[in-house]
């Protein structure tokens, strides 16, 4: 081997931003932002110290939950949440099917496509809570407003994913059915439905799960469900009841997640 000298220095080439000055500029910008952002956080330390004690009480309440004292409120909220979840998922999925089909570029005429896409866009960009505030203002307090909120949110969620699935279907199969002289409805029935059905069921189960979690929240603005109960118990500093409610929510979420993953596997 020839005695040739090789460099003894090596630096990893930058992976994301190649240009040197840009890298410095971005790093500087990020640091500056962080300093400014952290600067805006005003912490009232006296209040925090006070909070430590309350936090301990909350943890104690979580570890020794009290299911009995407020059981009537809890069970009412729970029933509202569960019924709201189920009915809104069913109605939401039923409505989102035509909307999803309409929002699929390969099936719908131009104008229908734009109408359906804008329905989906509106539904997706509005926070559930904000929608709930409006529905409560219009339909009064209670589970019905919650039901409408969740239905509305479900339409955007399922509609978008369903439309994307339909756009991804195997064109060859649709072509084959079209070649038999099938009508538009027959095309949907024979070429599209079999391909997207399992996925639709999976999505609905997934949404059921999300709707339950959301139903626990929209009660805070008056749309019924377990969230209202939780809100009341927290504002009364009854941490043992709050702990009980949180444990119930966690348990139900775990259960739905577990069973829906099983069901999805079974549907496939």
């Amino acid at each position: 081997m020839t005695k040739q000298s090789y460099p003894t220095q090596w630096r990893r080439p930058p992976q994301i931003i190649q240009a040197k000055h840009w890298r410095y500029l971005v790093t500087f910008g990020v640091l500056l932002y962080l300093i400014m952002a952290i600067g805006t956080v005003e912490v009232n330390w006296g209040r925090v110290v006070e909070g430590v004690e309350r936090g301990q009480r909350f943890i104690a309440g979580f570890l020794q939950p009290d299911f009995t004292t407020r059981w009537r409120d809890i069970s009412r909220g729970l029933i509202e949440s569960l019924t709201m979840t189920f009915t809104s998922t069913v109605v939401g999925v039923l409505i989102s099917i035509p909307i999803g089909v309409g929002a699929a570029r390969n099936l719908a005429p131009r104008w229908v496509y734009y109408v359906c896409r804008s329905v989906i866009a509106v539904s997706r960009s509005l926070q559930e809570i904000i929608v709930a505030i409006f529905f409560v203002a219009l339909f009064g307090f209670g589970a019905f407003a919650g039901f409408l909120t969740l239905t509305f949110a479900t339409i955007g969620f399922i509609g978008k994913l369903l439309a994307e699935d339909i756009e991804d279907i195997d064109e060859a199969q649709a072509e084959a059915v079209r070649a038999t002289g099938a009508s538009w409805l027959q095309l949907i029935n024979y070429a599209v439905q079999p391909q997207v059905m399992p996925r639709l069921i999976g999505l609905s189960l997934y949404r059921l799960d999300i709707n339950f979690r959301e139903s626990a929240v929209i009660g805070i603005v008056g749309a019924g469900g377990i969230g209202a109960t939780l809100n009341t118990s927290l504002s009364r500093y009854e941490y043992d009841s709050s702990g009980a409610i949180l444990i119930i929510i966690i348990a139900i979420v775990m259960m739905t997640e577990y069973s829906s993953s099983h069901l999805r596997r079974w549907v496939k």
């Binding site: 956080v41 209040r47 909070g51 029933i79 009915t87 926070q127 219009l138 339909f139 929240v217 927290l234």
Partner: protein, 273 residues
């Protein structure tokens, strides 16, 4: 197709499904409908239908009062908007810091103890995921008092579960051959992580973080409703005094922010991956 009928059996009637499957399916649909009707009755037992019938009237009233939006209110929204973005960003960063170690503890191929630490990490992740950030905010405001800190922590606690779950799944999907090759060089455990696992999950990690940041912008916009700072406080205040023209402006600002953050996150994800 065949021209010679060989047997005397009658032509079988074709069904798309076996009889048993059909009955199960019907039963399933029947059950769904029955459950739906039952749930509907339970849910609407306390509904005041008068309000519902009045809803169209109420809606038109509301819109009449909300229009035109009071655009001059904008100048008082910049600070809350800045707060909202800070809550989302700082909350996401804090969430990432807590989620990354948890993800390594929860992934079956990197966890130090399958019996104790892995279930613990999984439990933390599930708990964080089950509790919506608004509920976290409710709790933290009740404990720490209102303000940005409660909002940041609420966003962070909710993000742990999301980032932790997706990240540990990404860690479990890493290619074993690359890890094996690093092991064969005599590397220590920490070096195996650094060279074998981390490079493989890094793109997923960036994608997940930016995605969560985008979601957090949406969520932090409403945290103010329960006193955790940001533009939601303004929303709450305006609604309390029924200042609907101001509410309209706030909603437009929130919508605009959401659209921009979605665009930014899509752009970053494309640039990184």
């Amino acid at each position: 197709m065949t021209t010679t009928p060989t047997t005397q059996t009658p032509t079988p009637v074709w069904h798309p499904r076996t009889p048993k499957a059909r009955i199960t399916l019907w039963f399933f649909w029947l059950l769904t409908v029955a459950l739906f009707v039952y749930c509907w009755n339970l849910m609407t037992a306390n509904t005041m239908w008068v309000f519902v019938y009045d809803a169209p009237q109420a809606a038109s009233d509301l819109f009449n009062r909300a229009f035109p939006p009071r655009w001059t209110y904008m100048e008082r929204l910049w600070k809350p908007l800045w707060d909202t973005i800070n809550i989302a960003t700082l909350g996401t960063l804090l969430g990432i810091m807590m989620a990354v170690p948890l993800a390594f503890l929860a992934a079956s191929n990197t966890t130090p103890s399958k019996v104790f630490l892995r279930p613990f990490a999984l439990f933390c992740i599930v708990t964080s995921r089950s509790i919506n950030s608004l509920i976290w905010a409710l709790l933290l405001v009740s404990i720490l008092g209102p303000g940005l800190l409660a909002g940041i922590l609420a966003i962070a606690f909710r993000s742990i579960g999301f980032i932790g779950k997706l990240l540990y799944e990404a860690i479990e999907e890493t290619e074993v051959s690359q890890v094996e090759a690093i092991t064969a060089t005599g590397a220590s455990q920490a070096q195996i992580l650094n060279y074998g696992i981390v490079p493989q999950v890094l793109p997923a990690f960036y994608g997940i973080s930016v995605f969560r940041w985008d979601i957090n912008i949406r969520e932090s916009a409403i945290l103010g409703l329960v006193g955790a700072g940001g533009i939601g406080s303004q929303l709450q205040a305006s609604m309390n005094v029924l200042a609907w023209p101001q509410v309209m402006v706030i909603l437009v600002v929130i919508l605009g922010t959401v659209v921009v953050s979605e665009w930014v996150s899509a752009w970053v994800r494309k640039a990184v991956i």
